[in-house]
């Protein structure tokens, strides 16, 4: 309506239009700022209140660093950050090893029934964690893997493989068959062709999987809660949730812990944002 009527107006229309345009841009900008405040509020809240004592928190005035010291006595922060890192890195390495090879096989080395096998692997995406968590707990318990890194890592790997394999297969399908065949003709063999030709070409997909899985595993609660009940092996996210469930820890301490646990994921996010976006929107484009 506005745009149309502006078109018919005569003299002075350029200044009126400019004013209207300015006004509109200012309004849009103000809206964007407002939404940014809503999105950033939790970060501000965590930091602001982490620098308080419980009394200061109750009165909502004054700041101090006491709660940070308290956090490190109530929660084995360094230990749990290390646990998170070990579990993330190992699980991601395994997911990448399994999904790149399988993705390459499904895309380039078809065999009788490989299409069906691929479909079955991808269909496993539909299985919700809660539907298999009980058998998983029983099976890994029988193997003595509860409260070990290995148990939790296996569950994360199982949950990560279907999507990662799908993503890798999609990516490898984009590489020309001729390139692969030529390498094989040159005597590289399929294994070496994969390692030296295909794998280096697929680093963007690998980056996508890495960042998606990092955030998923770092932020996970349920698997860690069940498979890492021992504070010595707990991840930072699980440790934090357990601390909050205890209802004895002061809110500023919880906020300090929340902030620390979020920092690594935020750093990874800021570095690999591009790949995260790609991963989230993949599987949709045609």
């Amino acid at each position: 309506m506005t745009a149309a009527s502006a078109g018919v107006a005569g003299a002075g229309r350029s200044t009126a239009a400019t004013v209207r345009r300015r006004l509109r841009l200012t309004t849009l900008f103000a809206l964007m700022v407002l939404i940014a405040v809503v999105m950033l509020y939790p970060f501000y809240y965590m930091l602001n209140n982490a620098f308080r004592t419980q009394t200061q928190f109750d009165q909502q005035s004054g700041h101090s660093a006491v709660s940070w010291q308290q956090l490190f006595t109530e929660l084995p922060v360094w230990r749990e950050l290390l646990n998170s890192t070990i579990i993330c890195v190992t699980a991601i390495a395994l997911i990448l090893a399994v999904s790149t090879t399988a993705g390459f096989a499904f895309a380039k080395l078809r065999y009788r029934g490989s299409g069906t096998v691929f479909l079955a692997v991808v269909a496993a995406l539909l299985v919700p964690l809660q539907s298999i968590i009980i058998p998983e707990y029983v099976n890994l318990g029988k193997l003595g893997l509860i409260n070990t890194y290995v148990g939790a890592i296996l569950v994360y790997v199982a949950l990560g493989i279907p999507f990662a394999t799908f993503l890798m297969a999609t990516y490898y399908r984009g590489i020309s068959d001729d390139l692969i065949e030529a390498a094989v003709m040159d005597g590289l063999g399929y294994g070496k062709t994969f390692l030296r030709i295909a794998l280096p070409l697929s680093w963007p997909a690998i980056a996508t999987i890495t960042v998606l899985q990092f955030i998923q595993i770092w932020d996970d609660l349920l698997v860690g809660l069940l498979f890492l009940q021992n504070p010595q092996q707990r991840t930072i996210t699980v440790g934090l949730a357990a601390l909050s469930a205890g209802r004895t820890t002061s809110i500023p301490v919880l906020m300090a812990g929340s902030f620390i646990s979020a920092v690594p994921a935020i750093i990874v996010f800021l570095i690999f944002q591009r790949y995260l976006v790609r991963g989230l929107t993949l599987g949709m484009g045609k």
Binding site: T2, M39, Y45, V98, R110, V127, V138, E181, L240, G283
Partner: protein, 322 residues
């Protein structure tokens, strides 16, 4: 994540492979090289198959078996289909299903709000790239952390009640987490907020793919901005809206555990216990593994139904397209 879409594409791919068998290079052929390729293919895909079978397929089979037993983790007694009868006639189960159904009411907001925000960013006002990053940032942090801040936000002395008082609605001040339905609403609001980043990115990606000439043509035809948005942009984004719908529904059913654990622990009463949380409570708090597995199976069936609905949507849309 994009479970259904991925499965759909995989199915198409496997059909394609079947059709193309024999004729295509890179397909299944004969000869020494082909045999070597087949062997390499089997070897390289084997680890993935082993993981999926051992850690996903077999456990699903076990879960089916467990669901027909009364089992506390030590002794399992087969009770057959009557396990389902008694579980499905449990009023608490229906209370839990009611919670899941009520949570679905948040879906229109969890999709509509990010759609509007994406449209705002798509205006490409100065600084929009920066704001895009800011809006997306919360997707990096754990829902455990988000839940912890949300508890403080909804507390009687929290920001929400302060804002109510500030705008003269002090009479509405309430401790939302203390009432069954208000607590569920608080979880739903937090859920909507948590989904914003993901859905904004989906819609923004969609808008970037739009044919700009169509928008331009609508403008020339004298349509207002709102008309262009509702009659041109939104219909063109159908695929992306569907995708976001599926992701949001799947999350509502199977990703709320952390939020609920931290915010309400399923309470007050069973006010915020959803099916996925009920599986955890039944199995690991009450030690009834059999019943827990049963509820897990019901969740699985619901997921499959969501998947089938999505497949139908895609099919019908393709039908129109041709």
């Amino acid at each position: 994540m994009s479970a259904i879409q991925a499965a759909e594409e995989a199915a198409a791919e496997s059909a394609l492979a079947r059709r193309g068998r024999g004729g295509r290079r890179g397909g299944v052929g004969s000869g020494r090289l082909a045999r070597r390729r087949r062997r390499a293919g089997i070897m390289l895909s084997l680890p993935a198959v082993i993981v999926v079978v051992g850690l996903l397929a077999i456990p699903i089979g076990q879960a089916v078996y467990y669901s027909f037993t009364s089992w506390d983790g030590i002794t399992a007694t087969w009770i057959g289909p009557s396990a389902y009868v008694s579980a499905l006639t449990d009023p608490i189960f229906w209370r839990v299903i009611e919670n899941n159904a009520l949570l679905l009411l948040s879906i229109p907001f969890a999709i509509g709000i990010p759609l509007a925000i994406a449209a705002l960013l798509h205006e490409h006002v100065r600084g929009w790239r920066f704001f895009r990053s800011v809006y997306f940032l919360p997707t990096a942090i754990s829902w455990v952390v988000i839940g912890m801040v949300a508890v403080q936000f909804f507390a009687l002395s929290g920001l929400m009640n302060k804002m109510l008082a500030a705008v003269g609605l002090g009479a509405l001040q309430t401790d939302m987490l203390a009432g069954q339905y208000t607590a569920l609403a608080a979880v739903a609001i937090t859920f909507i907020w948590s989904m914003l980043g993901t859905n904004i990115i989906i819609f923004l990606t969609g808008m970037a793919t739009l044919d700009q000439t169509l928008i331009e043509a609508a403008r020339v035809d004298g349509l207002s901005r709102w008309q262009i948005f509702s009659r041109v942009t939104v219909p063109l984004l159908k695929r992306f809206i569907q995708f976001s719908f599926v992701i949001t529904v799947i999350s509502a059913f199977s990703a709320l555990f952390s939020l609920i654990f931290v915010m309400t622990n399923g309470g007050p009463g069973f006010g915020t216990t959803t099916l996925e949380f009920f599986v955890y409570q039944t199995a690991f708090s009450q030690g009834q593994f059999g019943t827990g597995a049963l509820y897990g199976m019901i969740l699985f069936v619901i997921m499959i139904i969501v998947g089938l609905v999505q497949l139908r949507l895609i099919r019908s849309e393709d039908g129109e397209g041709w």
